[in-house]
């Protein structure tokens, strides 16, 4: 099969339903079935969002006087980390490592709440997390191919790598108070700073004259204002990547990019779309490139993290240590949230521990974890390959070995060739915002 046919098939795979090929009029690389994408409505920032903007950039809220939200969630880096290291540094002297790689704040406007199992809707008698988690111990998982496996009883949604906050408002307070990050001290200290901030006039006008007498409420409102800034400010969810424009028929993918898309979507190949869906939603919303679910992938331990010098220390994601309410649910130990891949190509820290520094390393991990684990994991003193060395052995059974490409065995041919990886990387680069088509 020549590459031209494969190329067209890629587009067909994405829009299998109702795909009509109009080969005579289509240039190669065009989307044969352009769609209309529904983007968030743009409007001038409300007073609440203007307040949030000021708080977002306020370094005075940190103990160092040097860090704001924007320091780690840099507007120039798609609200991700601006540095080259695995984590950011914070605390009073800007010398403490953060616990995990800094996630981007973009594309969280549709993030569902943390839950376990299928959506319960408007059911006032819905079972709680504990009940669903108990059910999850016995019900087998279904394979993930080309979209969310909605009936899986696995965690989904929430913010942070472990989903411990449901709303952007709740999320905002964690780094503000974390001693490794902004180290803001306490709600009371933050409240006192807010009361004397240059933007303090906003508070009584929005929340009533009594707001300064209620420190907890003041901080809740301030964090909501930050959340509102993220919701209203278009640069947190622009959907201006080359791929978005291609979906709308306004940009053309190169041969390599389109091959990469094909491999990305193909359940028998890279199967990336199994967890990072690439289709617009039924409501015409642009794809988020995450199914919001949690997976244990067994990424290698990152020796660059100070905390990992303690051989007994393990970051287990959903079951702790940062998250504390699901510590007993051992079937979730080692699970971390599937992030969006939008703007991933501009990052320098991948996975929760930042162990990978570029997309090539990430794809090598997917390709070789099971076929040639020695290329991914370090060796012990006796020479044995330490597979899943960032998880205690009793949790190795939680690691996904059923979804392609993680269903292979040592000695099997890797699912991707070097060219395949290069093409997927080329495709992932089309997910970076701010693309300007040639005039």
């Amino acid at each position: 099969m020549n590459s031209r046919i494969l190329w067209l098939l890629g587009a067909g795979l994405l829009f299998a339903a109702g795909a009509v090929f109009a080969a005579e009029t289509q240039a190669p690389g065009d989307n044969p079935n352009p769609v209309h994408l529904v983007r968030p409505r743009a409007a001038p920032l409300s007073a609440m969002a203007q307040l949030g903007q000021k708080i977002f950039f306020d370094v005075s809220l940190s103990s160092s006087g040097a860090l704001s939200c924007a320091s780690c969630h840099s507007p120039d880096h798609h609200y991700g980390p601006p540095n080259d290291g695995p984590v950011m540094l914070g605390g009073k002297n800007l010398s403490r490592q953060g616990a995990r790689a800094v996630p981007s704040l973009t594309y969280l406007e549709r993030q569902p709440n943390f839950s376990i199992g299928p959506d319960k809707g408007d059911d006032d008698n819905a079972p709680g997390l504990a009940q669903m988690a108990a059910l999850g111990q016995t019900v087998p998982r279904t394979k993930k191919q080309g979209g969310a496996a909605e009936q899986n009883i696995v965690p989904q949604g929430g913010l942070f790598w472990d989903g411990r906050a449901d709303t952007l408002q709740d999320q905002a307070l964690f780094p503000l108070l974390d001693p490794r990050e902004m180290d803001g001290g306490s709600v009371e200290i933050v409240a006192a700073k807010l009361q004397h901030a240059p933007y303090a006039d906003y508070f009584p006008s929005l929340f009533g004259a009594g707001i300064f007498a209620k420190p907890r409420l003041l901080v809740s409102e301030a964090m909501f204002a930050v959340a509102r800034y993220q919701l209203e400010e278009p640069s947190f969810h622009p959907y201006t990547s080359k791929f978005d424009l291609w979906l709308e028929g306004k940009a053309r993918l190169s041969e390599s990019e389109l091959r990469g898309l094909n491999l990305f979507n193909d359940p028998g190949k890279a199967n990336c779309a199994g967890c990072h869906p690439s289709r617009p939603t039924r409501d015409g919303l642009p794809p988020l490139f995450t199914d919001h679910e949690y997976e244990a992938l067994g990424a290698p331990r990152n020796a660059d993290l100070i905390g990992n010098r303690d051989p007994a220390h393990f970051d287990l994601g959903v079951c702790g240590p940062q998250r504390t309410d699901l510590a007993g649910q051992e079937q979730y130990c080692g699970m971390f949230k599937t992030p969006s891949l939008r703007n991933a190509a501009t990052r320098h820290a991948f996975f929760h521990n930042g162990v990978f520094r570029n997309l090539e390393q990430v794809l090598d991990f997917y390709d070789f974890r099971d076929t040639s684990p020695e290329k991914v994991f370090s060796r012990a003193a006796d020479g044995t390959v330490q597979k899943y060395d960032d998880l205690p052995p009793k949790y190795h059974g939680n690691v996904d070995i059923s979804d392609a490409p993680f269903d292979r065995h040592p000695g099997d041919a890797p699912v991707m060739t070097a060219q395949d990886e290069a093409d997927i990387v080329a495709f992932l680069k089309t997910l970076t915002d701010g693309y300007r088509p040639d005039p």
């Binding site: 993030q111 709440n113 006032d124 709303t167 959340a227």
Partner: protein, 549 residues
């Protein structure tokens, strides 16, 4: 009751009768008042103080459209008039722990909030034997809401004002409102949905599994929580219930008066823009950042009664049959049995077939329930419908009631001493353990469906908004007369049924009258108030292009 002749508008009605030869048209049905069409928009989960705490004065922060009250707006019983905005007992009672809070303003940007606890017992406990000081402790446990939702400890004390619930404040400014309206019993959606059509939550019967009900002490069940209606193809497969009493639809049927239930998502044959169909039709809301299923079975009032159910969601035989028991041939029974989609309401009215009584439930994203809806989406659905109705020739003898199934547990300061007692040892707590009322010796429970005193009807429950929008509504008027959801049933009975009552322990017998919200001597047909569906502000001409139907 006295039958009052109306001045201007009814003359127009008489003129219209030349065209209304069909005896089934509401204009020829005898009514005690000039009202020939009643539309009940039954929204979800807001307390009176939550929407009107500072009425008629809004915060008006910079950058938002200011709300300015009309001069001579009457005082309402809210947090301002009760002087409860500060030094509130929910802030000073240490039992509320970290949730202790004074009431606080919710901004328009905070329209999408968490939902609170609105179960039968916690709502009673929040009222703490009349002290109304344990809301954060008992009802202040919200679900998270969407990623952009506002939430805080003590959030149950939050209230909106005219910068967010702008449309309802504008309707109150121009029409009539009651500030003493309650749910008939404590608890969530389903008891409210059956109360507004039957005045009765006793007589529940489990069909599949168990229901959210308690033993009534006489061998029967009272429904105090949400359970899906049995037989509805969209209902839960593990838990369903039916009600065994009568509802207002039965009485209207016996007099051949046209009526209908019109619910968003009810027509299973339609497909939404996103391709969803059947029971799973859904709509994306950017306000709650989620795709919400339109039809919620446990809100489907008439589906709980075998006589008024349409379990398969069968379609009416024609648009002309909407509202009627029989098809337009007048002989065959129409398959829809008075249960339709909201789209059918718009279609029937446009076709000149406006039923006498119409119960409306918005699609879930517009029903007002925190979590799946919000005040801005709710406002859009309500305003579109009311704008539409004001453009109809039938508007001159139409009344719209906007009220609620329950309070969601949101703080409302106006405790109502129970007039309907209940003494379930576990479920009833409002006046002490096992007590809703002063005790069976001094305050017996109300009679249930079988005429014997029953438990599970503790009420009045929580105070909810109640607006009447009509050419006959008093203008910028607030009634302080005690009413409940059953007062809607009573009005229908008084207007169309010569005051016939449901019996079987229905609260229609004792519920207050809403007649004082009207002035039937003065019909002001020119008093049409068109609002912008998004902003809720008054506009001079009808906004175009907003109708989904």
């Amino acid at each position: 009751m006295s039958v009052v002749a109306a001045a201007l508008c009814s003359a127009a009605v008489l003129a219209d009768q030349d065209f209304d030869r069909d005896h089934r048209f509401p204009h020829e049905v005898h009514t005690a008042t000039p009202i020939k069409h009643l539309v009940i928009i039954f929204n979800e989960n807001r307390s009176f103080d939550h929407y009107f705490a500072t009425y008629p004065n809004a915060g008006n922060p910079p950058g938002e459209i200011a709300f300015k009250a009309k001069p001579h707006t009457p005082t309402v019983n809210n947090l301002v008039s009760a002087n409860l905005l500060t030094n509130n007992p929910n802030d000073t009672n240490p039992a509320n722990g970290t949730g202790a809070a004074n009431p606080f303003r919710l901004d328009r940007t905070q329209a999408n909030t968490r939902s609170q606890n609105h179960a039968y017992t916690p709502e009673q406990q929040a009222y703490d034997n009349g002290k109304a000081d344990l809301f954060p402790e008992f009802t202040g446990r919200g679900t998270a809401g969407g990623v952009g939702a506002f939430g805080t400890n003590g959030q149950v004390m939050g209230y909106f004002d005219g910068n967010t619930v702008t449309a309802f404040w504008n309707y109150a400014q121009n029409f009539a409102m009651n500030d003493n309206a309650y749910t008939d019993t404590y608890g969530p959606s389903t008891p409210g949905a059956v109360a507004v059509i039957s005045g009765q939550n006793n007589g529940a019967k489990n069909i599949v599994g168990s229901s959210s009900s308690i033993a009534d002490g006489q061998g029967g069940l009272s429904l105090i929580g949400d359970t899906d209606p049995a037989g509805d193809v969209c209902s839960s497969k593990t838990s369903t219930v039916l009600m065994t009493g009568k509802n207002i639809g039965d009485l209207l049927n016996s007099r051949e008066i046209s009526w209908g239930s019109f619910m968003g998502g009810f027509d299973l044959t339609l497909s939404n823009a996103n391709g969803t169909t059947n029971c799973g039709r859904s709509t994306f809301s950017s306000n709650v950042s989620g795709t919400i299923v339109d039809y919620i079975p446990h809100h489907a009032w008439f589906q709980y009664y075998t006589s008024t159910a349409n379990p398969t969601h069968a379609r009416p035989s024609s648009a002309a049959a909407i509202g009627h028991t029989k098809a337009s041939d007048g002989k065959t029974v129409d398959p829809a049995n008075h249960a339709y989609d909201l789209a059918d309401f718009y279609a029937a009215v446009k076709a000149g077939n406006f039923p006498a009584v119409s119960y409306i439930k918005m699609p879930a994203f517009q029903d007002g329930h925190p979590g799946n809806s919000d005040p801005l989406d709710e406002q859009e659905g309500n305003v579109q419908l009311i704008n539409f109705l004001q453009q109809q020739k039938e508007w001159k003898d139409t009344a719209v009631i906007v009220t609620y199934d329950d309070s969601d547990g949101w703080y409302d300061h106006a405790y109502a001493r129970p007039t309907s007692a209940s003494y379930d040892p576990a479920a009833d707590q409002v006046n002490g353990a096992g007590l809703c009322g002063t005790g069976a010796a001094t305050q017996p429970q109300p009679k249930g469906l079988d005429g014997k005193p029953v438990n599970g009807r503790c009420g009045p429950g929580t105070r909810v908004p109640f607006l009447v929008i009509s050419p006959f509504a008093r203008q910028n008027f607030v009634s302080h007369a005690r009413i409940t959801q059953a007062s809607v049933v009573r009005f229908i009975e008084d207007n169309w049924l010569h005051g016939e009552r449901l019996g079987g322990g229905s609260f229609d017998e004792t519920a207050g009258s809403i007649m004082d919200l009207f002035d039937f001597d003065h019909c002001d047909e020119a008093n049409k108030v068109f609002l912008d569906p998004t902003a809720g502000t008054v506009v001079l001409s009808v906004p175009e292009g907003h109708y989904h139907y």
